[in-house]
Subunit: 203 residues, 2 copies
């Protein structure tokens, strides 16, 4: 086999394991995930997992970093865009988040519960406070409402957007099943920005 094809094969196996790890870790969490589960999910031998990624912990770190990026990657580029208004940012954030989370509904609960298990290591990685405080988004919020801590509005935005996914196992049956649930999430793409704007405008 030629060199390119071999590299593809390498990548394929390594990627298969990473993909499987992502699925199993995200579904069960670190503590409940067995390396054997991951190997089976990837369709490979258990030893291969350790051959490619020395240990469960190492594999987890890689998966976790990528999952954190996925969850917060939606937010980061929008917050510091100085070409968009506050309203446009709100529209984008809710739309992008809800679209992504309808594809990956168990992402938030996974990331948040793993951060709980290891706050120092996982939470401090991003120096969120500084980055956020100096962001265009927060400045725009302050310019609009200097009487309320801007992080309140961020909590509201994230709470209304992410919480329905964090609590999906409870809320989906309440909403009347998967289809109704998805329908409501689609509605929220428009509703949430409207509500936030309302909060900002009414003193």
């Amino acid at each position: 086999m030629a060199k390119v094809a071999k590299a593809e094969l390498d990548l394929s196996t390594e990627e298969k394991i990473k993909e499987a790890a992502s699925i199993v870790f995200t579904k069960k969490g670190y503590g409940n995930a067995r390396t054997r589960d991951i190997a089976e999910e990837a369709g490979i031998n258990l030893a291969l997992l350790n051959y490619y990624f020395r240990s469960k912990e190492k594999l987890f770190q890689i998966v976790m970093a990528e999952r954190i990026d996925k969850l917060f990657g939606v937010l980061a580029p929008i917050l510091n865009d100085s070409t968009t208004t506050l309203e446009e940012k709100l529209d984008k954030i809710t739309d992008n988040y809800i679209t992504m989370l309808l594809e990956h509904p168990d992402l938030p609960i996974f990331v948040l519960s793993e951060i709980r298990n290891n706050p120092e290591q996982l939470s401090n990685r991003f120096q969120a406070r500084k980055h956020l405080t100096e962001s265009v988004f927060i400045k725009q919020l302050i310019a609009r409402r200097n009487d309320i801590n801007p992080f309140h509005f961020l909590m509201n935005l994230l709470g209304m957007t992410l919480f329905p996914f964090v609590a999906k196992p409870i809320l989906q049956p309440i909403a009347g099943g998967e289809d109704n649930y998805r329908g409501m999430m689609e509605q929220r793409k428009k509703l949430i920005p409207g509500w936030i704007k309302m909060m900002l405008d009414n003193p």
Copy 2:
């Protein structure tokens, strides 16, 4: 020792284990919790744990049921109170929830992530849909706004109230430390009901 004193001692040991289990399970989740951790936390021998509660799983079921009660017990009695207005309910829910969660901040993430691990068993326990749909609260919401699915407002209320605790490890540093975080949560007791009322009033 007299009978009463003995009963007290029994209860004390059993309660000590349950209390320890509650602490360890809530902090680490089922999969990451070791029965030895629980025994140590309770200051008793490991075998005693199995003497009182046959297995880790059984002990967990008991703790879990009690934790679910704690998390949803705040909501249930308020939702069906026909003597209070919608506004009063909103005030009570946020106040009671935030007060309770400042004492037990890791409760929501624990319950929600365990429900994710076992949705059928834990989520179906409460026939939430029927109870909720027929609740005074939902009827009051519909009476006020028949153009929007009332569960949207419930998601907003719970999202704005619970999410800051679900995401505490991330938000607390952003807020500027524990004291600032608590201060903001206290503010939200008044802010959130105001925001929800605003959503209900503005068409």
